[in-house]
């Protein structure tokens, strides 16, 4: 009895890994510009040979929405972000443009987020934006997940880096944060007792009921999600995945999700920024 069990187990494992399929390697060209949608994964991610954009795993209909800015349902939010960029707010009567100039000055910023600030804290784009608002403009902080303004601004700034490869730093002062993120990525949580890696490393390319599992890359955030009917942030997505496995999510903007964001971003170093991506 035990012997047959072992034999079946081995056969099963062979069958399961044979199922794991890499996505069709079709070029992602947005508005005539070719994106890097697959790239050799960094050596410090032993679990992946190739990093793939989530776009490759979506249906043709969803894919079509991302390659044309007129079709992309995330673009109205980007327009709102551009408007906010030059709108004065707060007690100092200043806009982002007053200090930073044209928003195109932000090209490249998205590729290095999150990163360690001068005080040794790990900050994502949202923390940098709110720091400017509170300390330089005398304006109120925008809520991290719910604020349409925060989503619009992160999308507008992200778009300035579209096509540029993700390039977050994982060494030096970032190392302890990256290590924490790595640990969280592989820790099983929730009543379903799964880790991010169980789905996004071991099973990308497979169907989980009606969903085609991707690598859970974040190079396209904030992303327009058809299911959300709007843009959503990285931490909202992390929260959703944790709730699906009946785990108590970490706090959006808290140290765990920031560390996880850095680690997940590093898994996609080399992939083009696709902000605002479109997913189902």
């Amino acid at each position: 009895m035990k012997k047959t069990l072992m034999a079946t187990a081995l056969a099963t494992i062979g069958a399961a890994s044979a199922l794991m399929a890499d996505p069709a390697d079709i070029p992602l060209v947005i508005e005539g510009e070719e994106m890097i949608s697959s790239v050799k994964a960094p050596d410090y991610i032993p679990g992946l040979d190739t990093a793939y954009s989530g776009w490759l795993f979506r249906s043709e209909e969803t894919q079509a929405l991302e390659i044309d800015d007129f079709e992309n349902p995330g673009m109205p939010a980007v327009d709102y972000g551009l408007e906010l960029w030059s709108t004065a707010d707060g007690s100092e009567g200043k806009s982002c443009a007053d200090c930073h100039g044209d928003i195109s000055e932000m090209a490249g910023v998205r590729t290095t987020m999150p990163k360690v600030n001068e005080n040794g804290e790990l900050w994502a784009m949202e923390e940098y934006i709110n720091n400017c608002r509170v300390n330089r403009m005398g304006a109120e902080a925008w809520k991290r997940i719910k604020s349409p303004e925060m989503l619009a601004m992160t999308a507008a700034i992200g778009l300035q880096s579209r096509g540029m490869p993700m390039n977050v730093a994982i060494d030096g002062p970032a190392e302890p944060f990256w290590k924490l993120g790595e640990e969280l990525y592989y820790t099983r949580v929730g009543q379903l007792n799964m880790s991010c890696a169980n789905c996004h490393e071991d099973n990308y390319g497979n169907m989980i009921r009606a969903d085609h599992l991707s690598q859970g890359q974040i190079n396209g955030f904030p992303t327009y999600r058809l299911k959300w009917g709007g843009l959503g942030s990285i931490h909202r997505r992390f929260k959703g995945c944790m709730k699906n496995i009946r785990a108590e999510p970490y706090k959006p903007g808290g140290p765990e999700f920031l560390a996880l964001e850095l680690y997940v971003a590093s898994r996609g170093n080399g992939l083009s920024v696709e902000t605002p991506a479109v997913r189902n």
């Binding site: 009895m1 035990k2 047959t4 069990l5 079946t8 187990a9 099963t12 069958a15 399961a16 199922l19 820790t187 099983r188 949580v189 929730g190 009543q191 379903l192 007792n193 799964m194 169980n198 789905c199 071991d202 099973n203 497979n206 169907m207 989980i208 009921r209 009606a210 944790m242 709730k243 009946r246 785990a247 108590e248």
Partner: protein, 150 residues
């Protein structure tokens, strides 16, 4: 004496029928990847087991496994092996262990354990703490259903 024995037996089966037979996950004996005894003493109901198998809030087995017996339902997952003919491949005691705690059979599997003590898991959402994914009787029902997959 005879009467009280009868009364006790009656009370026990009434409890079991009501699904209140209080075996806890910690009390289930898993030996060599098998659970020899029924968790409830009440035979599993394959028809209900079939429902629990497909229900997204219960077994949600179809999320990961294809199953030709459910051809009428769309979207069978491909994370685990097809369950066609699974009754031919395993003993009932093995399948019970796999359902109770899949890690007792496949140590690193993604498959959830359906009758596991939530205190042994990390960051379980408060509303699921102290609960198992399936009740003991639902485990027996799913088992009875799996045994029909020949």
């Amino acid at each position: 004496m005879k009467r009280s024995l009868f009364a006790a037996a009656f009370a026990a089966s009434a409890l079991a029928a009501a699904g209140a037979w209080a075996i806890t996950p910690a009390e289930v004996k898993i030996e060599d990847g098998t659970v020899a005894e029924s968790l409830t003493g009440t035979p599993g109901d394959p028809a209900n087991g079939r429902k629990v198998f497909a229900n997204r809030k219960k077994g949600n087995c179809l999320a990961c496994h294809a199953n030709s017996d459910m051809a009428e339902m769309l979207f069978h997952g491909e994370i685990g092996p097809s369950l066609d003919g699974v009754a031919e491949r395993y003993e009932p005691e093995q399948l019970r262990a796999l359902l109770v705690n899949s890690k007792s059979v496949f140590p690193d599997t993604i498959m959830p354990g359906f009758f596991v003590d939530s205190a042994t898991l990390n960051r379980v959402m408060p509303k699921f703490q102290g609960k198992t994914i399936l009740t003991a009787q639902e485990v027996e029902d799913v088992l009875a259903y799996l045994l029909t997959l020949k």
